[in-house]
Symmetry: C2
Subunit: 418 residues, 2 copies
């Protein structure tokens, strides 16, 4: 997986021309005097484009869908996939509440009124505890401030406002050229637990000034989600509020990409690079994680086989615990490969473990090989562990991302609501 074919730049969701953001504390998270460091944490943000954007989105496939997803989906249908602004809160998912849709709609209406735009061109998204009534009053008070403070460099204020148990904000952006015109694409993401995306992951917002038709935008997003966010698992739990939104305002003034071809491929490569980097950040900041696990499955007969096998390994609770313990228990890798729902010859499988401290083969043709436990222990000391699987049965390859299972994961999730 190549993470840096393009020039990476600062700015997150404000990297692309014409996108501005703001973030503040409105009172959904605990007040400052009740936090360990006595500081307010941002809990709501707004971002907007100077002009209307073609917009693509993918949503969770969980049958339980957060009210904000339902409202966003309806809005994009009504507007013909056009959006101008997005409002996002953390700490409360507004899911499984009888008044959820009403509240999510109210959030759009508040932004629409304050910005003087149609309500159906506002995207709404929430993350946090499921099944607690969302208080609307703090949001009513915050929206005028959020609109007033919208600014072309406040991406960090927005990226921190969407954090829940995340320990770091996640932003990434790149620069690329379409037909000689410089374009930018950047994004922010949040998510640390309840991460096992299916069609989309926890909240992710991506903006670009590249001109792309709504149809090609959706196609690029769906294809890229499959090999990035959908290959991520922290704990096997597919959230109710997963959502990825991609907004393109066209302010780079390239000729609009409206069909497949070289320019579409460049755009998709840039999108993949940003999404893969954000995915990797999400895995590395998984709840309680001390180590990133990146599993690369090659030699598969097709892409789906490679994805299924790689994802099975990063999802294995037993392997995740072994990596936390820096134990080269490769039998658990083989076990997870073996129960992956895919077709391949288990007796042809090779496995290597790798980190910046070296690389060892632990399994050849489905059976163990002698290896130095000392060298394995040295390799596993790293905080970024690579598991390289070769199925020796074709040319397809995929990467999946996960993290180790630690005491802190249990601690965080044994006591999340309080």
């Amino acid at each position: 997986m190549i993470y840096n074919s393009f020039k990476s730049i600062d700015g997150g969701i404000c990297a692309a021309s014409g996108f501005k953001a703001s973030g503040t504390y409105c009172g959904i998270k605990r007040p400052a005097n009740d936090t360990p460091d006595k500081k307010h944490k941002n809990d709501i943000c707004l971002f907007a484009s100077d002009v209307e954007c073609n917009t693509a989105a993918v949503y969770t496939q969980n049958k339980v869908k957060g009210a904000p997803l339902l409202v966003t989906k309806a809005n994009l249908e009504k507007s013909g996939n056009k959006a101008i602004a997005a409002i996002v809160n953390s700490k409360n998912a507004n899911t499984c509440n009888a008044d959820g849709v009403e509240k999510a709609q109210a959030m759009c209406d508040l932004v629409a009124k304050e910005m003087n735009i149609p309500s159906e061109k506002v995207i709404v998204s929430s993350t946090g505890v499921i099944g607690q009534i969302l208080p609307i009053e703090p949001i009513e008070s915050a929206v005028p401030t959020l609109v007033k403070e919208l600014c072309y460099n406040k991406n960090a204020a927005a990226a921190t406002a969407i954090m829940t148990t995340d320990t770091v904000k996640k932003e990434y952006a790149v620069e690329f050229e379409i037909g000689g015109v410089k374009c930018k694409l950047g994004g922010m993401a949040k998510g640390s637990g309840m991460i096992h995306p299916n069609m989309a992951t926890t909240l992710n917002f991506i903006t670009t000034d590249c001109a792309v038709s709504a149809e090609m935008l959706q196609k690029a997003l769906s294809e890229t989600v499959k090999i990035t966010y959908n290959c991520l698992s922290v704990d096997g739990d597919t959230s109710t509020n997963d959502m990825v939104v991609l907004m393109a305002n066209g302010l780079a003034f390239n000729d609009e990409i409206d069909a497949e071809g070289e320019e579409y491929n460049i755009f998709k490569a840039a999108l993949t690079e940003v999404m893969a980097n954000l995915t990797r950040m999400l895995a590395k900041d998984g709840e309680g994680a001390t180590k990133l696990i990146e599993c690369i499955c090659s030699g598969a007969k097709d892409l789906d086989t490679a994805i299924t096998v790689a994802k099975s390994v990063v999802c294995s609770t037993l392997f995740k615990a072994a990596i936390f313990g820096e134990d080269a228990n490769w039998g658990r890798v083989l076990c997870a490969i073996g129960y992956a729902d895919a077709e391949f010859d288990i007796n042809a499988v090779d496995v290597c473990l790798k980190s910046e401290y070296g690389k060892i083969e632990v399994c050849k043709n489905g059976s163990g090989v002698d290896f130095s436990e000392e060298k394995a222990a040295e390799i596993l000391k790293s905080d970024e562990i690579y598991v390289l699987i070769n199925l020796n049965g074709g040319d397809a390859e995929a990467t999946a991302w996960g993290c180790d299972l630690t005491y802190d994961y249990v601690k965080i999730n044994g006591d999340y609501r309080t």
Copy 2:
């Protein structure tokens, strides 16, 4: 789920007439002076019937299959599903080893020679670390002792010999009547981690003196596994060595059950009761577990829907951690119901939490209801938690068993091989 329709009796795998067992320490586990309590732990056992048995078996669906499974399967094919004895070791799975089949075959040959029976009538099974060469010498030394010590009341010596990270041995037996003839059926099981059975679970052996044809025996076992062992999950990892074996020696002298009907139903009910109780014991002794989680899904349109939904809940890492923390985070139950791969109306779902300390409804028609957090906290103090789900869409019901996710699970699995 009724656990006690029949009279429960002592004796485990020796409860049925004509079954004897033995267990000893041969040197695969650590020697006594290297254990915390300076005591040898049994690591190998043998059990046998006085006469040949009709035998049914189910195996893991993991593509990686332990060598003992391959040998047992081949033996039962060769013998026409007849077996007399079974040898089982712990601490080494004899899986992913180039010489695995040869060693598993040698174990059968050793028993066959010492007991003067055909090698294909010996079942072999192993559990423990994957990918370490199985030392055959200690087994060679132990087999004569095991045969000499076979005894009609040494079920506990066998049940302890198959334990790995289990903290307690698991045995259960019942008495029932077929056509006025008293029959007995009992079993032993082991397993604490890498438990997410698919077609079978980790090692389980069941013996009965009831006369049942090989065909009806296999039918009863397959049907019962589906609603007992296959509804168990400790960590989502389907083992490479899962195996359930059911041996019937006919020494109760009832008319052989060779077709469906009332007697088959009684036999299957007895088998279900033993397997459900063993399954429950496995869940309660899951690695690091402090609480049993039993999820009963009713109101489903069919059995598969009920199983899928109930199992999704007991598999949720987030919910398991919440139960450890005694946090009534029912949103995580809804989330897990929502991503279950089954058809039902999420807006009709009701959820209750229950224990010996009381019962509360937490969700009605897919939305949260007000409940007393104090009462919920009280209920969750129990070490046996019931999650009652009603899909309100039919008459089918199923139970799934799991346990909480704790610091100790991480500790045990961060450092399993050493």
